[in-house]
Subunit: 387 residues, 2 copies
């Protein structure tokens, strides 16, 4: 085991705010990169003001900025620009999630950056990307969920629209982190940096995958179908006596095992349910048959019985239950930071487990605004002019 991580020699200058950008640089920090967050002196990252707060510090901000450093610089101020450019000289990666055009207005167009810092990798995360007719438009997670098709697939038919309950703007941050590592590998081959341009809308389209393939093949526009799988049955949420559980009986063998656990082996012999295609065609009546039985006992009872029979199933965990789950604990998927002001802060862990790299249950906390100024400035004094 090494504690260093694959990005131990990588320095990231981070101009990002709120969600998709900070999520990207958190992924880089989790891989060992040194991430220097350059924030506006006027309050810093907007999300520092997002509630809920713990002793005055934003839980939102703290959860996305663990292990980063902070320096406050006004990129419209000449002396601060000199500091920023010194930082870029020693950096491997610059990440920002301004609206396209903003960074150019500040005087840092990609063409100029590339000429001045040829080894620098530059990643821009935006709502719609740096090209195309919508490039200049603002976007929020909800707008791209709607425009990208995911909302049209989520929810119950006939009910009001349903948003995925978490900001999948994260997805753009993940794709950006992937693009940055690709660009670093590319730099290893070619010696020069490249621009990584990732948009939240593109990220939404990229995760539609099967829906696009199905529509392109059949011409049928897919709609929302609740908790059910479109083409595998039974694969749904089912009501028990005290709540719901999910059951995913993806083939004939598992369906027979399910019927046996339900003590309704007759269902497996019913010709309406003889194979997956017929079960999918008759999904409404099959669900009624299954729920007639599942409603008679508790979620916990059914999970025990189904697990014993090897039928894939699970509880619909709320967040408290997720954090209490023994598998989540065993995988270090909840980590803590000891914040000097807010105390013990709990966050999601790093889902990318590398055999050769430590995955500690505690992390360095998120920085206060400008907390690392003096050390960073002292280091710049000592560094050679170019990287």
């Amino acid at each position: 085991m090494t504690t260093a991580g694959p990005l131990a020699d990588t320095k990231v200058i981070d101009l990002t705010r709120v969600l998709a950008g900070p999520y990207c640089t958190m992924m880089l920090a989790d891989m060992g990169a040194r991430v220097i967050k350059v924030e506006s002196p006027d309050g810093g990252d907007d999300s520092r003001a997002f509630g809920p707060f713990v002793n005055g510090k934003s839980a939102y901000f703290m959860s996305l900025n663990r292990g980063k450093e902070s320096i406050a610089l006004d990129l419209k101020d000449d002396s601060d620009r000199i500091v920023f450019e010194k930082l870029l000289s020693g950096a491997d990666v610059l990440v920002e999630n301004y609206r396209p055009g903003t960074i150019a207005k500040l005087g840092y167009r990609w063409a100029d950056l590339h000429e001045r810092y040829p080894r620098l990798v530059y990643a821009a995360v935006s709502g719609f990307g740096h090209t195309g007719p919508y490039a200049g438009r603002p976007a929020y997670d909800m707008v791209v969920q709607a425009m990208g098709g995911l909302m049209s697939l989520t929810g119950h038919a006939g009910a009001p629209p349903t948003r995925v309950g978490t900001s999948i703007g994260d997805t753009a941050g993940m794709f950006a982190a992937y693009g940055i590592l690709a660009a670093l590998l590319q730099r290893g081959r070619t010696g020069t940096g490249t621009m990584v341009d990732v948009s939240m809308l593109d990220g939404q389209v990229a995760i539609l995958e099967n829906a696009i393939a199905r529509y392109a093949a059949t011409g049928e526009v897919p709609g929302p179908i609740g908790a059910r799988h479109p083409s595998i049955t039974p694969f749904d949420a089912f009501a028990a006596a005290d709540g719901y559980l999910v059951i995913a009986a993806g083939n004939d063998t598992l369906f027979r095992a399910l019927c046996s656990v339900l003590a309704r082996s007759g269902l497996a012999d019913d010709e309406r349910f003889a194979d997956n295609a017929r079960r999918t065609r008759n999904h409404t009546v099959l669900k009624e048959e299954i729920e007639t039985v599942t409603r008679t006992r508790s979620v916990a009872d059914w999970l025990t019985a189904l697990d014993a029979a090897g039928v894939p199933c699970g509880p619909i965990n709320t967040v408290d239950k997720v954090l209490a789950d023994p598998q989540v604990a065993a995988r270090t998927m909840a980590v803590a930071a000891d914040d000097p002001t807010a105390g013990n802060v709990i966050m999601a862990g790093n889902p990318v487990k590398l055999d050769a790299v430590d995955d500690p249950p505690t992390r360095r906390p998120a920085p206060d605004l400008d907390a690392d100024r003096n050390r960073i400035l002292a280091e710049l004094e000592q560094e050679p002019a170019e990287h």
Copy 2:
């Protein structure tokens, strides 16, 4: 521009099937890697049998396996194992998404692989990961959506459970692709490969982010809230005369602009809606006020007026509309492959745009089972024994 891509010199041996694993290797292929899919001679990747079909070929399979090569090998057959091991000798990456334990039973435990092929990066994508009490359990997308908390946040309060309408098992594939590039960078530093262990459940926890932070800070368990944002208002789907649109007025200035477009400036002066906190507390009555107006005109009318006023908004696009969107087209987010049997196949494009790398609108099609056998075997004859 180069057509090569950052992974042009990277050879990937791909044992994956169905979704999360093939999504990962598709991302690698999109970055220029050579991906050799090693499939069971008995039908190959299970998803080759998933409908809908175009001239007998699975749209599902085709959309996830573009640009890959295929060779059929029985890993229980001695002569096929010799071929497989020759492939590993020349490979940079091995990816599989068997249930943990399966690859060891085949004789390819990570410890042995690492000793024999020290430069090989090995990535395993599984339901629950290779460690922890649930490691041996089967999982499907629906099971991890339920167990990982995402279903508990998605849908309308009081309504039956709601699954996100696309398989977010994709997320695990994305994290695995990120981990593989990290491991390749690590190999550049250390000279040796590492194991990348990514689970679908961990991926779900990692994208809960804000929900965990909110719960940890407040002790309140978050539930489903329809299409609304939990802490920003108005940020929701609203009914128009002919359907729904989303409006994301994230601050006081945008709220005032929205009220002006609605010709209801009085709302902006109403003390119940004077700031975001009060708007969020009174979200139900505010939504009624807004919908009283939005129901009087069409979605298209409102989008035009709101765009002109700079209020973030969007249509709830179905998949056909997504594919017809000019921004999606401008960003090459729908790509085509010319399949010799199925004809023109439409798929989601690559959301990671690199300035220095081509992003062509057409891609090589997915391979038929064993299509590249002869060429691959001929190459192995010519290669030196070790990489």
